[in-house]
Subunit: 302 residues, 2 copies
């Protein structure tokens, strides 16, 4: 059995019953295990993380996208997080020994079904991108180019979808792809001026001179009156969590701001936190084999 | 099967072949899995960590003690770490659902065998202690009261062993007991004055006004010309590693000293490092269920 992870993001973060229906549609497919569901009312977005056998991955993701398209009307959707559609981003992630190429294949199969059967325009991104300019998600859709702007632009060659019609209905468009394990990491600051947040996010963002493998946005969290630096760490082995945290802290200090907490949205590999502990405690010679849980399991299989 | 962990400490940290022979004697017993072997030439001490079925724990520990007694002559032993005997300290630690009371029982069985069959005086300590003043290991043997001092004092009532003769032979005495999971944690400093190290160790030590659940000593590491604060964290859930590290750093700063690295000797539960990451990254709302490895395993067993 080849294990695939899929992390669909939907444009519904306030109405739990809708998110539950989407989740149920996905988990009805055999071999699916829902690992996590996160809802953010400020972003008005939810993230469902599931794993399943690679033979069922397309079917499970399709079920979620279909249900989201039934329940979510993008004309009525508002929220902090940029979005194209009801099922906004659907990435496949290889786990264990699964190859990236398999995930790219799954992304294409899913894209074709969504375009053909649901009449939703599909843009392939990341490792599945058909054009270099579509590799980066933030270059496809961002704060200044979202659902509303796509409606007007989709007839242009630049915005020709990879599958489905050159037309944006109430379910919007879906961005489907394959990528490495990503950590969704937010640092909340003790300030409420989002303009300062934007400068800090800019300092973190790879594209603007920050850390490689980091994408960053600043959000204003209305219910708490604070600013959030919201990041995607696209290669935690190379750019570790602690480096992002410390750079946010440094860049914030210029403005008299500091982190009040940080949060990981969805799942994270243990190694990412172990690496942070090794950094802060200067455990320079530490060998992960000395983690007792790993030691005992190692020995069991011998 | 009830799993027991045993962490015997032997007074040999330089001659690998002797340590290997002791290890082989232990691992010859059925169900034994050697998890770790650490040797320290400055301390002239080694620590072997093993797990086994509770029905074999006494036999396995006895085999190690017997071999150590054959190979190690305490009259010839010198090293930084305080010691009573060839097999210096032998604790049993409950894992999973095993009860502490079972480990106490095993300690007593082992003590009796060692006293009767090897003629080695045995002192029960920690949870197995027969006198309140023997609960604390450092109160039994320490820098000012070791093998050499015990030879003269063992006829006194205060030093009447729990098992074995009131006589100290070349194998010295053994301290046997049951305790919770302990983390052996060292912080190496950028100074070579052990007197400063002793002040810092004093500031860490529970007994002298430091952190509860911390025992601390200062050592001079001759081969590196630096000072080491060597600690036992006896309840890492209550007194976490990071708190000990940060207090060493703080107390050292008074003298212009700082940590150059820290090290964990032997095994450590993942949770101890996860807790450190949560502290430093301010992951205040983090739920360990979001560690992907745990999530996948959770789901597998359902």
């Amino acid at each position: 059995m080849t294990l695939i992870e899929c992390v669909p993001n939907f444009s519904e973060g306030r109405d739990k019953s809708k998110v539950d229906q989407i989740k149920s549609a996905i988990s009805a497919i055999p071999t699916v295990r829902i690992l996590d569901v996160e809802m953010d009312s400020n972003h008005n977005r939810s993230v469902i993380t599931f794993v399943c056998d690679d033979g069922k991955a397309v079917e499970a993701a399709f079920a979620g996208i279909k249900k989201a398209a039934e329940l979510i009307d993008m004309d009525k959707h508002t929220g902090e997080h940029p979005r194209f559609g009801a099922a906004d981003v659907i990435p496949f992630v290889p786990l264990d020994d699964t190859k990236m190429s398999r995930c790219v294949q799954l992304a294409r199969e899913l894209g074709k079904r969504v375009g053909d059967e649901l009449n939703i325009p599909v843009f392939l991104y990341a490792e599945a991108a058909t054009r270099p300019e579509r590799a980066d998600l933030a270059a496809i859709r961002n704060k200044s180019f979202q659902y509303e702007q796509l409606k007007g632009a989709i007839k242009e060659e630049k915005w020709k979808p990879d599958f489905g019609p050159s037309e944006v209905g109430k379910a919007g468009a879906s961005i489907i792809g394959a990528r490495d394990f990503l950590i969704a990491y937010n640092v909340n600051l003790n300030i409420s001026d989002v303009e300062i947040g934007k400068k800090i996010a800019s300092a973190l963002r790879a594209r603007d001179g920050g850390l490689t493998f980091v994408k960053a946005l600043a959000f204003y969290l209305k219910d708490r009156n604070i600013v959030q630096i919201s990041m995607n760490l696209t290669n935690f082995r190379k750019t570790p969590i602690y480096r992002a945290y410390e750079l946010v802290k440094l860049e914030a200090s210029r403005y008299g701001a500091y982190p009040i907490e940080s949060e990981i949205v969805g799942l994270v590999p243990e190694q990412a936190l172990i690496d942070a502990a090794k950094f802060y405690l200067q455990l320079n010679g530490f060998d992960e084999h000395n983690l007792i849980e790993r030691k005992i399991n190692e020995n069991v299989s011998e």
